[in-house]
């Protein structure tokens, strides 16, 4: 039950939606699947004056571009991504990351763009505030922080939970954004500010249009793991996405991208770990030591009842296993042509 009122317009196209959003000057929000937006409105965390519905805009199915990249429409429902045979064959990590989001109904409703633009999460934020945590925190435009009372007003140690973002960053994807001035293209990782107060770098009149993933090169292998307590339905304790390439000798790492999500205000690249792997032979010992260092480098925030120590332990073990799986896949030549 939603108690605050808002107006509603349906856009015929993304350009139309952008124009509507621009005209409303920040008072309007785009509505795709609504699985993140509507709970926020229900909890009275935001009170948009208008929702601009994207429901009439039909997304194009994933397609292969002339240069071998794969283009995925931002309005694609997550269920269509997990079930797409193109993605399962050519971008299995992306299909897998869509597959682990929420529960089935959430995947049927939610879109790729919505998943990337989701708000950060914090136990104190994600509830109605009728009698608990009534005074707004910094995130809600107020003057305190409940979990970390000594934080400054510009610091919001909440966590960004998208399961798909780490996969896209690991795959070196680009994101096409449509705004009033037209389209622009950025690297996936540049979409995220790392600041819990405004985790996604989009103006009020910009929308994600498409995600473009470059073709995989020879020697490619991927690994993906989402840690949860129940094995489904939940947001992650930690999300680990690994994309690496073995050199021609099949043993040495040519390059690696390691991204961890759900443990900080944005997805985090374990750059030092990536460097520690590059040019080295990827044996068990190396993977274990890199994973150990990465868990410290990532510096997870305690969140949703998990302590920092335990998140580091979890990342350490699963990072190693995920790296090993990526190496296995790279060796077996599982990568798409």
């Amino acid at each position: 039950m939603i108690l605050s009122d808002f107006d509603y317009e349906r856009a015929d196209s993304l350009e139309d939606a952008v124009a509507l959003l621009a005209r409303m000057g920040g008072e309007a929000r785009p509505l795709a699947g609504g699985t993140d937006l509507l709970p926020s409105i229900r909890m009275d965390n935001i009170r948009p004056g208008m929702l601009v519905s994207l429901t009439a805009i039909e997304p194009r199915p994933p397609e292969v571009l002339p240069d071998g990249s794969i283009r995925i429409d931002a309005l694609s429902r997550l269920a269509s991504l997990e079930n797409s045979s193109l993605l399962r064959n050519r971008l299995p990590m992306l299909a897998e990351s869509a597959h682990v989001v929420g529960g089935n109904q959430i995947r049927q409703m939610g879109t790729l763009g919505g998943n990337l633009c989701q708000e950060i999460r914090c136990l104190y934020l994600d509830q109605r505030h009728d009698y608990q945590f009534v005074a707004p925190c910094y995130k809600r435009g107020g003057a305190c922080c409940y979990p970390f009372p000594r934080n400054d007003p510009d610091t919001c140690w909440s966590v960004y939970m998208s399961d798909i973002a780490p996969a896209l960053i690991a795959l070196d994807a680009r994101i096409e954004i449509l705004g009033e001035a037209g389209s622009r293209s950025i690297r996936a990782e540049d979409l995220f500010t790392g600041n819990g107060l405004k985790p996604v770098r989009l103006s009020h009149s910009e929308l994600l249009r498409a995600i473009i993933v470059p073709p995989a090169r020879p020697g490619f292998g991927w690994g993906f793991h989402k840690s949860t307590v129940r094995g489904g339905l939940e947001f992650g304790m930690a999300v680990i996405a690994v994309a690496l390439r073995l050199a021609e000798d099949g043993k040495t790492c040519a390059d690696a991208r390691i991204v961890v999500g759900a443990v900080r205000e944005g997805p985090v690249r374990a750059s030092a770990a990536e460097e520690a792997l590059t040019g080295k032979v990827l044996d068990d010992e190396r993977l274990a030591s890199v994973a150990g260092d990465a868990s410290k480098e990532i510096n997870p925030l305690p969140h949703h009842g998990f302590t920092r120590r335990h998140l580091m332990d979890n990342i350490r073990v699963y990072m190693k296993r995920t790296l090993a799986r990526a190496v296995e896949r790279a060796r077996s030549g599982e990568h798409p042509a």
Binding site: D7, P39, G232
Partner: protein, 175 residues
Amino acid sequence: MLDVTTRGAAAKTRSRSRLILLCVNGEWREVAVKPRHTLVEVIRDMIGLTGTKASCESGICGACTVLLDGRPVLSCITLAIECAGKQVRTVEGLAEGGNLSAIQEAFLDQGAVQCGFCTSGMLMSATALLERDPKPTRQDINKALEGNLCRCTGYNAIVDAVLQASEQGVKPVMK
């Protein structure tokens, strides 16, 4: 504390109701909805079909699951106005001409119903699964129903019901 007048004035301009047409269980219905009305409110309160349940109102437990153009969705976080012109199926639409569907019979045969509050949502998720995949594996079933919480049955009987309904060798337990 909110100032009453401001809220009242703003509410008036935004509060315009619109007439929408929804096809619910094969019948076209015209309802007047405000943008903020959720599909579950419209189904239960305006149309009067109370088989769909409201439990958490936050899109987590799945009790409110209905089929929207064949897709299982959480009606508590779906705006009714978004569904204009669409096909909505609820639990009341599963039986045909007084005959229960295979999955409904299977739920009764397997003891998959106890308090019944999760049942409507479970049946809709299971129906959507079986329409897409006539022979789901246990893993497929778990993945399709992971968004439907049940506190009474411990789920095993529900999985058995889906296996029975899809004729995968599970025999009725209750007669």
